[in-house]
Amino acid sequence: MKKQIHKTARIRTSSVLEAFLSLGSPEEDKRVENRMVLAAKIDDALKAQGIGKKQFADMMGQKPSVITKWLSGGHNFTVDTLTDIQRVLDVRLLALDEAMPQQQVYRYVAISSVQIIENKWCIDDGQSYSLPNIPVESAKTTPQHFQRELKLA
């Protein structure tokens, strides 16, 4: 069977369009995109649940004109508003339930209690710490109770 050939529109590229695309910044593009994506997600959730704009306004305790603004793609939502919309529509807008990164452990110790073993700083708690960019010998000559922040190696 012969493949059907479709006649598509003439393609245009121009320096005017090139200059247009170079306006602004990628950061601003991303901000605008994120606002529009949020508006789209909310709109999709409303349509999926058959909720109209007036009904949603009542559910959120807002005027319909505010909902129009929210859905226009230009609104800069607060975290609180997104949290409330998530709850009311049962839609995921904030990705805050993802696993938190492991916390760094810091300890303040007296420099006088530090020993250098195998190029690592050690204190008498048995743990070893690394502290790059700080010369050990110069730290040891500082006053006895000089304290440094050590990161767990």
Binding site: I11, T13, S14, D29, E33, A39, G73
Partner: protein
């Protein structure tokens, strides 16, 4: 008036195809003329429009909520894309589907006017796109313009010798 639908390749993306219109074999499309007329004086407003078109083409599709209510008779899909939050400019578009948009012209809207009809430039730009809209809608109804690539693009006869020739 002769016109042709032109694909603006640099603005297209995986979620939408972007077109404009060339009138009477002029060098620039309606949208390019809008840029030439407004980009210098309203740079941040035009930049915002750029961000919106980019987001629609690459991410969200052409959703009706992003536009101001249709301007024109019922059946004429002439929408108004505004430079939020400034709202100094009006740019008229034809939203064919959630994946196809035709960018027209527009201009600054003086604060003292309430409707585009009160401003000759905006009125003219809006009228241009309405004529285009009528002609394209008729070709779609007749099957002479149709969708391909899962509705992402148009194919068919894009040259209109005189919109009034179409029945």
């Amino acid at each position: 008036m002769k016109f042709e639908l032109i694909k603006l390749h640099q603005l297209c993306g995986r979620r939408a195809t972007v077109y404009s219109v060339s009138i009477d074999d002029e060098e620039y499309t309606l949208f390019e003329k809008f840029l030439i007329e407004n980009q210098k004086e309203y740079e941040k407003e035009v930049s915002h429009i750029k961000s919106q078109i980019k987001a629609m083409a690459q991410s969200t599709g052409v959703r009706d909520r992003y536009f101001k209510k249709p301007e024109g008779k019922p059946g004429q899909d002439i929408w108004d894309l505004r430079d939020q939050p400034y709202r100094h400019l009006r740019m008229y578009c034809m939203r064919i589907t959630g994946a196809v948009i035709i960018l027209g012209g527009g201009g600054p809207k003086p604060k003292e006017i309430r409707a585009f009809q009160e401003n000759p430039k905006l009125h003219w730009e809006n009228n241009q796109l309405r004529m285009v809209s009528d002609a394209i809608t008729q070709r779609i109804k007749d099957g002479d313009i149709y969708w391909i690539n899962d509705g992402l693009e148009l194919a068919g006869d894009f040259i209109f010798d005189d919109p009034t020739d179409d029945p």
